[in-house]
Amino acid sequence: MSKPSIRPDTGASYRQSKRELFVMIAAWAVTGLWVLGYNSQAAYAAETETPVRMLFGLPRWTVIGWLLPLLVANAFTIWFCLRFMRDEPMEVLPEDE
């Protein structure tokens, strides 16, 4: 994470925000592929399983298709916020109209 410049640079700040936007959307898409891709098979097939397949006392599909991606997404979020998202100097607040 780089240190903010002394004076705000609107253009540079805008471009950095746009880069961050694309990374966030990519993270959302990857999570969606995992959760929906896996569960479109596992969760919808679980109805016919007798007895129900469990992992840690939960239906197996909820652990692999929900809990695990949640943990991975949280790890990514921590990395993104601490390492990728850049600090920017904040504008001086103008007087209210």
């Binding site: 640079d9 609107t10 253009g11 540079a12 700040s13 805008y14 471009r15 925000s17 746009k18 961050e20 966030m24 959307i25 993270a27 959302w28 999570t31 969606g32 959760v35 929906l36 569960n39 479109s40 969760a43 919808y44 097939a45 679980a46 109805e47 016919t48 399983e49 007798t50 007895p51 129900v52 469990m54 006392g57 939960l58 239906p59 599909w61 909820t62 298709g65 929900w66 809990l67 991606p69 949640l70 997404a73 949280n74 990514f76 979020t77 921590i78 993104f80 916020c81 998202m85 850049r86 600090d87 920017e88 904040m90 504008e91 001086v92 607040l93 103008p94 007087e95 209210d96 109209e97």
Partner: protein, 646 residues
């Protein structure tokens, strides 16, 4: 009710009342302190944005608490209880919500708001694009859709209070008085007296502290409420897992459950020398079948008069418990009382999807009474995965918070905090209320009340009835923290974007008066509209948040990230997005004969509405008057040269 039951219920009720009263005292103390903070500062900037200096804890908690609304603690539990584990897939978008919903626009939004000196979202759009029309359309759409969201929260708040105070003597006396006073009044008299009283108390208190303390009071109370919610969920989880006999046992029993059947029965009693009142929720045991033990549960109060032996057409549900489900059977039989009444001529109908189908509560698409497709077909799951993060990003109530944090480190740390906080709230909630199906069966008769009923049941069974107050305060806190934010948002739009535009020279005293009375007026209007509310909270919440998302998602994102966006395209995008959402619900109403969305190709209307909005904006931008280049440079820097464009 036996003497022991009565003692237990009274103890729980009094303890809950004391906890609740303490909670309200703290809320008003915080509002008073916040009111003192307003002195010496610009009234509007302080009242609506807390002078833009929210630190990490304040920003993170107020965001999380506002997001975890009555829907999270009332509507969501009700849906988990009704449809089972498929709700994990329904809410799966929350896995990535903190990053996307906050990160997507927060940084740019805060910067543009500071540059423009904006206090509200419509004001920000107006100033960034240099167009009054943009601000006006944004205000109208914001107030319209936000009001639906507000309505749902009012209903949730009142429902929680009815359960919380149900056994308190003073409260019951007050209910009788309210009933006598309001029964002859049209519209008002149609509401249940207990609900009416609680709605009035809830509305009065939340409006009072919001108007008194403004944004800072809302943020401080949100912090407290966020803590209570987190603590409440952790305690509930511990209690439920202990009492259900472990997670494995709960999942196995759940996998053997089948959905209840709904219909009517004839009640017959053997002895008729005196009158008899059977409460709503009374259980009656039916003759056993080979693998299932059927029970009937009353959906309404039944009053046998003296000499009456038969009651025809009583609304009931039939719960058919697996004989292997020891915990569930024990729970129901503990509630079955020998009242000398039996159910005969039971005429019930099963769910269109899931009837007599074990496994339906631990799999997708989940049971549904009104559709043969099940609760969540895969395309609808895809819709919701898009809906939660992106509709969340476009909620003006969250945007107001994103305009108020003090610097970027605050934002970065807050996103991490909210991610962890949501993980500790939503996953446990699913566990708690799927276990709730085993511990407290038959609450399909009033599924919206399952959260407070669970709290009361679990604490009473554990011998700590005083905890019920804290646990029920969790959803109540969730509701309050949302209501206060929405009230502030709506009143902010009216005051800043309507009144101040018409009266630019209004004095600070005049602004204060208008602000207070607008807050009170909006609250009173919401209360009146909710006197006779629809059944499912979640329908209203999804419509409100979906409408806001469809109206603002593409216009706000493009306002912040696309220098070439034109004012006309923004207006067209907002109207087409919000309008498409309303049209899908109108078609849904005509097709289903109830307030529900029409899901074209099984996709939620939000997806279609956002697509319509985006396409309309792109099409309208071509050929319409461009934004003033000075404004583009102000908000995007020298982007034309630096990006190599002509």
């Amino acid at each position: 009710m036996t003497g022991a039951d009565f003692m237990l219920a009274s103890a729980a009720g009094n303890a809950a009342l004391i906890s609740f009263a303490l909670y309200m005292v703290v809320v008003f103390v915080l509002a008073g302190l916040a009111n003192r903070e307003q002195s010496g500062k610009s009234f509007l900037n302080e009242y609506f944005l807390g002078s833009r200096n929210l630190g990490m804890w304040a920003f993170a908690f107020t965001y999380a608490a506002t997001s975890a609304s009555g829907g999270s603690f009332m509507g969501f539990p009700s849906l988990i209880y009704t449809h089972g584990w498929v709700m994990a897939l329904w809410i799966a978008g929350y896995i990535i919500v903190p990053l996307v919903a906050i990160g997507l626009i927060a940084k740019r939004l805060n910067q543009v708001a500071r540059k423009s000196g904006s206090i509200t979202v419509p004001e920000l759009l107006r100033k960034r694009l240099g167009s009054d029309n943009v601000g006006t359309v944004a205000t109208v759409l914001l107030v319209f859709f936000q009001f639906f969201f507000l309505l749902a929260q009012f209903k949730a708040g009142a429902k929680i209070m009815t359960t919380l105070l149900g056994d308190v003597g003073v409260y019951q006396t007050a209910v009788v008085m309210v009933d006598r006073f309001t029964a002859p009044i049209p519209w008002v008299g149609a509401a249940e007296a207990d609900y009416l009283l609680c709605l009035l108390v809830f509305a009065a208190s939340v409006v009072a502290y919001t108007a008194w303390g403004g944004f800072r009071a809302v943020v401080w109370t949100d912090m407290m409420q966020g803590l209570i919610m987190g603590l409440g969920v952790v305690i509930l989880l511990g209690l439920v897992l202990t009492q259900v006999g472990g997670l494995s046992n709960a999942t196995q029993e759940l996998s053997r459950q089948v959905p209840p059947r709904d219909g009517n029965a004839t009640l017959v009693r053997t002895e008729s020398a005196s009158s008899l009142v059977l409460a709503k929720g009374t259980w009656l045991e039916m003759p056993a079948e080979e693998k299932r033990q059927p029970f009937v549960r009353l959906k309404e109060v039944v009053e046998f008069s003296k000499g009456q032996t038969e009651f025809v057409g009583v609304p009931v549900i039939e719960v058919r418990t697996s004989v292997e489900n020891a915990t569930e059977l024990k729970s129901i039989r503990a509630q079955v009382k020998d009242v000398g009444v039996s159910a005969q001529a039971v005429d019930v109908e099963g769910y269109q999807y899931g009837d007599d189908k074990p496994g339906v509560y631990v799999s997708a698409p989940g049971p549904k009474s009104s559709s043969g497709m099940g609760f969540l077909p895969i395309m609808l799951a895809v819709s919701f995965f898009c809906f939660w993060p992106f509709a969340g990003a476009a909620q003006p109530s969250y945007m107001a918070r994103q305009m108020a944090f003090k610097d970027i480190p605050t934002l970065r740390h807050s996103i991490i905090f909210v991610a962890l906080y949501f993980s500790l709230i939503y996953f446990p909630l699913i566990i708690i209320f799927t276990c709730g199906r085993v511990l407290l069966p038959g609450w399909e008769i009033d599924a919206d009340r399952v959260m407070p009923e669970m709290a009361t049941f679990l604490t009473s069974t554990a011998g700590v009835p005083w905890l019920a107050g804290l646990l029920v305060a969790a959803p109540f806190a969730a509701v309050m923290s949302s209501v206060d934010s929405f009230l502030l948002l709506v009143s902010g739009s009216v005051v800043r974007d309507v009144y101040q535009r018409k009266n630019p020279k209004a004095s600070e005293i005049q602004m204060k008066k208008v602000t207070y009375w607008t807050t009170v007026g909006v609250g009173a209007l919401a209360m009146f509209a909710m006197l006779n509310p629809p059944q499912f909270l979640q329908d209203l919440i999804v419509f409100g948040s979906g409408g806001l998302g469809a109206s603002f998602l593409m216009p706000v994102i493009l306002t912040l990230y696309w220098p070439d966006l034109t004012p006309r395209a923004t207006v067209a995008g907002m109207i087409s997005g919000g309008g498409a959402m309303a049209v899908f619900y109108l078609i849904g109403y005509l097709v289903h004969d109830k307030f529900s969305p029409y899901e074209l190709l099984s996709l939620h209307p939000f997806i279609w509405s956002v697509l319509v909005s985006a396409l309309v904006m792109l099409a309208t931008s071509k050929g319409s008057r461009p934004t003033d280049p000075k404004l583009v440079e102000k908000y995007f820097g020298n982007v034309v040269n630096e990006e190599g464009k002509a």
